[in-house]
């Protein structure tokens, strides 16, 4: 990709650039509550991007990604708590490695099954992890959950008093997730994953080692999800097994990508930028009225998307974006 002055005189160049600069300066004027929503948008875009590698490109509907998420979260918190190990090592390196090991076990067991049966078996992996962390109370503090030992403003311990640093980390993670997905999508592995998704038997016959390709996709997804778990723990300061290993979270990862559009780089981003604010605003506006009204509205939104755009919003949003670009001034070469 060549970047020149010319590419910034064309809407295709200056619109993304403007948007990126807007994202960079956003924390300077956004009130705290809205900044929090922005962080969850970026963060869920990242973990959903990670899910998209195995669930979208390879088409293996994982409903157990929370297992990897929880390992990243608990790795960071427990190792800081017991040994003062910073989350960079405790969460990302050790928690990430644990997630990769778990992904190997998951792959060995679950890839023997296909489609719905695969999905159900991954669901069990997440539940097993939740129960282990719930019941090993001496180590994990069980259902009480655990709070991060407070270290003040510290890059080493990934703790900040203001929200802005978390915002920038979440933004960097999202961009990283998009870059990795884009890289994989263009590579031989990406071609193989899409082929396996469409017809595994035909892919095998033309030389695709489907077990290996799927395993790599799951392990990459697991590692990135664990990194997401570490970030979540550092941001929220408190974790408990029911949330970080919860089925609800696994479904959320998948749902965001499905609503946005699976198997695309932009899908999870679009899904997260739509669903997270929708979730938060229905909660804020309707949460205090009747119990569950916000969930009804949120659910209705999901149904509408699935009914009218079953392939995800990415194509539709992409079309709108193209039309918007047409309207903007440009300097022809």
């Amino acid at each position: 990709m060549q970047i020149s002055v010319k590419s910034f005189t064309h809407p295709k160049g200056y619109v993304p650039l403007t948007f990126f600069i807007f994202l960079l300066i956003l924390p300077l004027f956004l009130p705290t509550y809205f900044l929090h929503i922005a962080i969850t948008m970026l963060f869920f875009a990242f973990v959903s991007e990670a899910w998209n590698i195995i669930g979208g490109y390879a088409g293996q509907l994982s409903l157990g990604n929370a297992a990897f998420f929880g390992l990243g979260a608990y790795g960071a918190v427990l190792l800081t708590h017991y040994y003062n190990i910073p989350p960079w090592i405790g969460g990302i390196v050790i928690g990430g490695a644990a997630a990769v090991v778990l992904s190997l076990i998951t792959g060995l067991v679950c890839f023997r099954l296909r489609s719905h049966y695969f999905a159900i078996s991954t669901l069990a992996i997440g539940e097993v992890m939740r129960l282990v962390f719930l019941n090993q109370r001496q180590i994990t503090f069980g259902a009480e959950g655990i709070t991060i030992p407070y270290k003040g403003n510290s890059i080493l311990y990934l703790q900040f008093l203001s929200k802005a640093p978390y915002y920038y980390i979440a933004l960097a993670l999202m961009l990283l997730g998009m870059y990795i997905t884009w890289k994989i999508g263009k590579s031989r592995l990406g071609h193989y994953l899409v082929a396996i998704n469409q017809n595994q038997d035909a892919a095998e016959v033309v030389g695709v080692n489907s077990a290996r390709a799927k395993q790599i996709a799951l392990s990459v997804s697991a590692f990135l999800t664990a990194v997401g778990g570490t970030f979540y723990a550092q941001y929220i300061y408190f974790i408990d097994p029911d949330f970080v290993f919860g089925l609800g979270l696994s479904i959320e990862f998948a749902l965001i990508a499905i609503v946005g559009g699976v198997g695309t780089v932009m899908g999870p981003v679009i899904g997260s930028f739509l669903l997270r604010p929708a979730m938060e605003s229905t909660n804020a506006l309707l949460g205090a009225t009747y119990m569950g009204v916000h969930l009804i509205v949120y659910g209705g939104l999901l149904i509408a998307v699935v009914m009218f755009k079953p392939e995800g919003l990415v194509g539709w949003v992409g079309g709108l974006y193209e039309r918007f670009l047409e309207l903007l001034p440009r300097k022809e070469n």
């Binding site: 031989r188 016959v205 489907s210």
Partner: protein, 245 residues
């Protein structure tokens, strides 16, 4: 001998799908495999390409036993196949379909793309490389399958009823394609129901019935073989032959 099959057996429950089959394919040969429906022709392909594991028997390719290898490993050894019902990657363009095959020999995306374009031109799909596989006609989908298989650079190509349902003109094109593939040095084994076609293409024909080889030889011998007429070609065929001569 490029491919040697010895005493191959496969049973599905009470059905002996392949029964003590012995045959071989010499380098550069086109071997025809014919027989009535359910005779076990496709099962033989599935056994050679590792989709099924034989109950007993040996399959030697270039002198090495390949029984027990996975389909992708067998592809890497140089055996590829097409399916009786075309199985393209439906939501991919023709080009990407064929690239998937080409990736078996290179990890480089540009190289795979060049190889795929070359093979698409070879089978006559060069102009449709950006069309989604599901939008291709049934015949083009079969061509695409052949292209995808050729992109893996096979020494041995197994074609499963590539010509079923083609009109005479399409059939001629397919025959010419098979000849061009053979001229590239690829050995072929073809399952085919269009008897005329297989008789003209293959020097060696194998006839299966209930999983058992009932005849093997040149087209002329097969045509007049009593067992083959009884099991497969039928009395009609005998009468037609008589009238011809």
């Amino acid at each position: 001998m490029l491919l040697e099959v010895q005493n191959l057996n496969k049973r599905f429950g009470g059905l002996q799908a392949v029964n003590n089959l012995v045959f071989g394919a010499e380098e550069g040969e086109i071997v025809g495999l014919i027989g009535p429906n359910g005779a076990g022709k496709t099962t033989v392909f599935n056994l050679i390409t590792g989709v099924y594991i034989p109950d007993s028997g040996v399959i030697r390719f270039q002198g090495k036993n390949i029984v027990g290898l996975k389909p992708y490993q067998i592809c890497m050894k140089g055996i590829c196949r097409t399916f009786q019902i075309a199985q393209p990657f439906r939501e991919m363009t023709a080009l990407r379909n064929v690239m998937t095959g080409a990736f078996s020999r290179t990890a480089d995306v540009e190289k795979a793309k060049r190889k795929a374009e070359e093979v698409l031109d070879f089978v006559g799909l060069g102009g449709k490389k950006d069309v989604l596989a599901r939008e291709l006609t049934a015949i083009d989908q079969r061509r695409l399958e052949v292209a995808r298989a050729l992109a893996t650079n096979p020494h041995l190509l197994l074609l499963d009823e590539t010509m079923a349902g083609l009109n005479p003109k399409e059939c001629d094109e397919a025959v010419s394609l098979v000849n061009r593939i053979r001229n590239k040095g690829v050995t072929l084994i073809m399952v085919e129901h269009v008897v005329k076609v297989i008789m003209s293409l293959s020097k060696k024909i194998l006839v299966l019935d209930y999983g058992t080889k009932i005849a093997e030889g040149k087209a002329e011998d097969i045509r007049s073989n009593e067992n083959v007429i009884k099991a497969y070609l039928g009395e009609e065929y005998r009468r037609a032959i008589r009238q011809q001569y």
